[in-house]
């Protein structure tokens, strides 16, 4: 038998081409397969429609939640569970089926959002009303049962991160759901292309057991190479962040308090600005971000809009060496172009940093930097704006943006993550003279660095990869230009 099998295999190998031809379905077979697939789709659609109609017809059906049950709940605090099930248990009065389903979904989303469950399945069990019940059978008594598989409390992992133009390796220890209320403690040690060393302790917890509000506290020590400044910066400090993650709204808020001790070490720069600003500086700032995000994909959207408005104030305390107020606005709009099997992404960013107090200048560590494969393409990373002896000094005001046309590759399925990419980018970064704001703003109205290009991109769930042929159309004399092939890896792109 075994020999037969081998012969069969050899046969298959030797007759690969002809057998391939034989395996190719005939026209009729293909039509039959398509018909079967269509039939399956129709059955799924009908079932879905049936359930939707059933829920629709009974949308106002009075329901009474008698109690809520949860399996594997030993890892959670009672107060935390009570808070999660509050929407289902607050009233003793009957609610509609729609209201009940919304509440069940909201509870499930809370568990998923806080990353507390590996799997969650909800079953709804009807129970008979008691003999002494006074509702005369007008409402159905139900008991939702949440069957959960909790996440592992402790995990340790190693891996790699890909950021905007950099990559690193990390080791991470995680203690999740530490006190039974969604509290997480994470320790990260990282080393990479730009980060010489980084140690990060992150403690985050939902505020008042509410998954919509998260409090995150970070303590860190890191040393990063800043190639554009030809320097290295060691940062020690902590930041406290409160942010929202609403389900019912696309609008979210972030409030951050940052406290740092930074040491800028010159590693070969000859710029007087870098020499002068090298050394120790304490910084304490408060930041507010307003974010609206309705995009269907963060890395490569073809639907939705993104808007961010951020404000940072550093100057609450006297020890701030370079006090400032900073503002940044970002927007991204996407448009579908079905006639071209493409989508258009229009991105714009602008920012301003204004020095406060007696200082007439801002720190090179707080300024804006633009240019690079993820930003204004065809320029090197942080390659635009004022430069001194090859050190990019950054700027106080900037405006940049781009239009990208993302198209399907001809002959390749539209579901493919590979796409064609055509773009035009522009950007301008200038220093600000505190005593002559008009001239500073005037500089922003002309002489933009503009680039064009085309290429191929791959949209991976974790990051976007681009390989483009790029050309600068206009540039400033000090801009660091890149002509020809440029590749970009990252999570945010112009």
């Amino acid at each position: 038998m075994s020999l037969d099998h081998e012969e069969d295999m050899l046969d298959r190998l030797s007759r690969s081409k002809s057998s391939l031809d034989q395996n190719k379905p005939s026209k009729e077979e293909q039509a039959l397969r398509d018909l079967q697939l269509e039939k399956e789709q129709l059955i799924i659609q009908q079932n879905k429609q049936y359930l939707e109609d059933l829920f629709k017809d009974n949308a106002t059906q009075p329901i009474k939640i008698k109690n809520v049950q949860i399996t594997n709940s030993q890892d959670f605090r009672d107060s935390f569970l009570q808070a999660q099930f509050k929407s289902l248990l607050t009233t003793n009065k009957p609610i509609t089926l729609t209201q009940m389903l919304d509440s069940v979904e909201s509870v499930s989303t809370s568990f998923i959002k806080l990353n507390l469950v590996e799997n969650l399945l909800v079953t709804i069990n009807p129970i008979q009303p008691s003999l002494f019940s006074r509702d005369n059978g007008s409402s159905i008594n139900l008991v939702p049962i949440f069957n959960i598989i909790p996440i592992k409390k402790f995990s340790a992992k190693t891996g790699t991160n890909i950021g905007n133009g950099e990559g690193d390796g990390y080791i991470q220890f995680q203690l999740r759901n530490l006190l039974g209320g969604g509290e997480n403690l994470t320790f990260d040690a990282t080393t990479g292309t730009k980060t010489k060393s980084s140690y990060l302790l992150n403690y985050n917890t939902p505020i008042l057991n509410n998954a919509d509000y998260i409090n995150e506290n970070l303590f860190y020590i890191n040393t990063r190479k800043l190639d554009h400044l030809q320097s290295e910066v060691t940062t020690q400090g902590f930041s406290n962040k409160i942010y929202t993650q609403y389900d019912h709204s696309k609008l979210n808020h972030e409030f951050i308090v940052e406290n740092f001790w930074k040491i800028l070490q010159n590693k070969g720069s000859k710029s007087l600005t870098i020499l002068n600003q090298s050394g120790s500086q304490l910084k304490s700032s408060i930041i507010y971000n307003l974010i609206y995000d309705s995009r269907n994909n963060v890395h490569l959207p073809n639907m939705g809009r993104y808007f961010r408005f951020g404000m940072e104030y550093s100057g609450l305390f006297k020890f701030n060496k370079y006090p400032f107020i900073k503002s940044i606005v970002e927007s991204q709009f996407t448009y579908k172009l079905p006639a071209l099997s493409s989508s258009l992404i229009v991105t714009n960013k602008a920012g301003i940093i204004y020095p406060l107090g007696d200082k007439s200048q801002t720190s090179v560590l707080d300024r804006f930097y633009i240019g690079g494969p993820n930003d204004v393409r065809s320029f090197t990373l942080n390659g635009l704006g004022p430069k001194d002896y090859n050190s990019s000094l950054g700027g106080d005001i900037f405006l940049n943006g781009g239009v990208s046309l993302i198209s399907n590759i001809p002959g390749v399925s539209s579901d493919s993550n590979f796409k064609l990419h055509n773009f035009i980018n522009y950007g301008k970064l200038v220093s600000m003279n505190k005593n002559d704001l008009t001239t500073s703003f005037k500089k922003l109205t002309n002489q933009y660095s503009i680039s064009i290009g085309f290429g191929i991109l791959y949209n991976h769930p974790m990051a976007r990869f681009e390989l483009n042929f790029v050309l600068p159309v206009t540039a400033n004399r000090t801009d660091s230009i890149r002509k020809g092939i440029q590749y970009g890896i990252g999570v945010t792109f112009l």
């Binding site: 090298s278 050394g279 006297k318 220093s431």
Partner: protein, 281 residues
Amino acid sequence: MVKVPEPIERLFDTVPIITYPKEEIIDHIDQFYFEGENKTNDDSFKLGVHQVIPYQGSDERIRYIPNDPISLGYALWLAHKNNLKLPTKDGKGQSSNNSIIQLSYHAAPDQQLPILIEDSNESRNIISLTAVKKSDHTNIESKLITDLIDSKFIDLWILCLLNEHPNHIFKDEDEDDLFHLNKYYNSYEVANWKAFKIRYPNLFQISGTSIKTFYKSELKSFNQNLQLLSSNFINLDMSLKLKLVGYVIIFDKYLSDTEIGIIIKNYPSLIKSSYKLLEKY
């Protein structure tokens, strides 16, 4: 080697189609300009030091001098060599192309000051002045004294910083350092100056007492050396004289409560000669 096809090369040569002028840098840096001839050529130097402090001499003239002994020695030597006078304006007016600027030691290539920033046409050169270098004196006596000042005295200055922590000399300490974070960091960095930690590893391996004991023994030999230098001050080479003046003035006027300051007080004639020499510039 792969050759770029001609059409692509032509395309690369064409772009960018328009090139605009360079972006202006408007960062202002306070500089204390040496007094002297305002030369029109582009050659200039800047002496990077920890801090600059005002010094009022017997002639009532306020001069701005570096606040550490090594930098003051070099400031005087540069003034002497280039026929300049010490800065008299607090960083506002420009009276020559050459200046003194206040920096953190983190700005220096080897994390130690002073540094000399030389500008010539479009190029800039940064030289660490405390870097180990060979003496160019041919006279054996001058050579030995140079070695004494450039190695033994600098070691003593490092020991003084490590034992007595006069942290106010550093630029960052001058800022409102609320938490005195720099104090600990400075001690760590100072130990690496002039490869001190590598040359004396045993001082950092045992408890802190060994570094104190070593400091005391070095102070004794400093006293003996100062005796010799004081008696021979007039005969010293000008570069050595000015380097010594740097130590005498800084320890007599600004660090008088340190052990070195107390020793220097025992040489009034040397102190007098030093002030006299300083006020020439």
